[in-house]
Amino acid sequence: MSIVTVQLGQCGNQIGHEVFNTLCSDICGTHGLCSKKENESYHDSCKERFFCEEESGVPVARAVLVDMEPKVISQTLSMAARSGHWKYNSQAHFCQKQGSGNNWANGYSVHGPRHKEAIMNLVQKEAEKCDRLGGFFTIMSMAGGTGSGLGAFVTQCLRDAFPTSFILNHVIWPYGTGEVIVQNYNSVLTLSHLYQSSDALLVHENDVIHKICAQLMNIKQISFRDVNQVIAHQLGSVFQPAHTAGGGSGYSRNPLGSFQDPSLYTSWLNPQDAFNAWKTPRAFNKYEKSAALVSNSQFLLKPLDSIVGKAWNMFASKAYIHQYTKFGIQEEDFLDCFTTLEQVISSYTNL
């Protein structure tokens, strides 16, 4: 089963690179703390999932890189190639000469349609290389310009072109005190559009990761590289295959004591349905023991409500709306987006 990754914008490309790095170093590591046979089976499964075999022997990431300016993409491509352990396909990227001015509407309504064919051709090529296409994994920031607007558009195109495929969007939740003044508008627009086309949204909040770096890892000068590596680490541990002891991939349902507490779950779902545990005997990244938890919960309710509230206040006074209307995003579209998110908030509030 293979997954095609679409890295969108500066954020998406930088994180994507770290993710493939983490995955590759995990696969290539020999200290799996398990039998050789187990290690090989893990190796094959993960390799097929994220990488493609090429004649040179160096695994090629199943990825398409998209950005409006060439700088980040060329950096990403060269860093990967320099590692010697893996690389990107040198053809599988799309970029333009100039940026999109950090404007969501520009990315969604202008650049998106203009470059749709070129981008989708690259995706189609990657998809065809897969024997069994498991789905798409997109990485982007929620509040930025290119990654967000173009990313929302590309996700829609993916859904149209692959109606039966699974699409997982990884979104980076902006810092609460972010630098982009219209970041709340962008967030609202991105989320509501992704909600229509995507199957699942996996969120990493910048503020939370920052805290991890500062408090848990005691990093003094936190760079984007540190943040990205933490994110990649978490993603890697979730994405690596989980086997049953008998080799081959399978899932085991293993109720762990405290997670069976019914008060953790909604009234309409019993704990056995709501909680699934996957085990693997093969250690991830040389950790003797590690665990990752992915949950669909009310955790994001407060941050979401806060963003929607702030965006609405700005919208009520029509601040900065012209930036969007001049590229075709009308006030009605904004209203639709607010409505969609209010429904999401209400669904989660009334869990």
Binding site: L133, T164, T266, S267, L269, D273, Q343
Partner: protein, 373 residues
Amino acid sequence: QNGAAQKRLLPSASCPALVTQIRFVKSALWYHGYDRPELHQLPADGSAGSRELLLAFSWLLHRLSLLEQLLVRNRVKTGDEASVCTCEDNLPSSQEGTAEAAAEGGLEDRVDVRYLQCLDGRLRFQWRSLHAQHQEQCKLLHKIHLFTSGSHMDKILGHFSVTETDLVRQPENYKQLFQLLESETMQLEAFLEWKQLEPVYWQWMETVLDDMAKEGNMCKSQDAHVEKRRLPEVTSCCPWAENLTGQMDRLSRDLMALQDQLHQLIIQRKAAWWEKVSFGGFSATARKIQESVERKLRDLTCFHAPKKNAMHGSCRLCVSREAVSAFSATEVIRELQMREASLQRELEQLREECRQRLDEIAQGLEGVICISP
């Protein structure tokens, strides 16, 4: 042969496995349409009924082409099998049906709709994974067929099947394949033998039926009122069985009446329209309207056109330039796309109806704005 002492073919002690087996046989027969009450009223301990079973078996033999189906089932697999189904769904979707069900439901077994949505999502995910696996299988099959084309003795087909390709890779498996082929040949020979003797079997069955008819006349007085009773254990699997025939009759009557009405309406409307148009000069718009009407009519005609052998069953996938005795994948795809389009239309219609109902309800409520999804 006077039906006196029935031979006891089954153990006299009843055990749960036997009871389940008997119930299974009865419901399977019912499912295929065998509703002879004498069989369904047989005791659950298996103490009687060998003649009824014989009748039921003969019925299956004839009705289901049982032997032919078994032969098909036991064919040696080529590995290129794919299943096709372009049949219409047989589920009734009438409004009254659902209303009845809702009334019977009651408040005890209410399920949270969110749980259903969650299950629906899971189901869809499983279906998508299955779909991806099917696509992978087709891709790999295509590779095999492409790589081996031109190598086969059969010049028309040209390429190897999966089984044949596997044999090339692992020649030591020829023994097993040979055994399977031998067994299939034996079954075919047995079938041919049966075909020659078949008339004798049916002559015998006729005598059995004659005997039963004679007995039936003697004890007609006992069962004056022969009713088609619905057996409780069975209705859970086909509650609509009884309604179906009545509904079908009603439907065909309604369709005939509707067809007549529509025909009249069309004549009237066309006459009125041509009157109007012949005065004004809207030739371009008139043409457009004409085209869209023709398109809609074409869509409608495909609804009541007799379903020409809906493709159904297992078939073998091959790369073939010439049309052998089969249908092409493009045909099937086109059929399925048409069905998809019509189901999509139906979905849109139902959604629109729901929206309208919601709006009506919302209008009755004060201070409520309804924003439909």
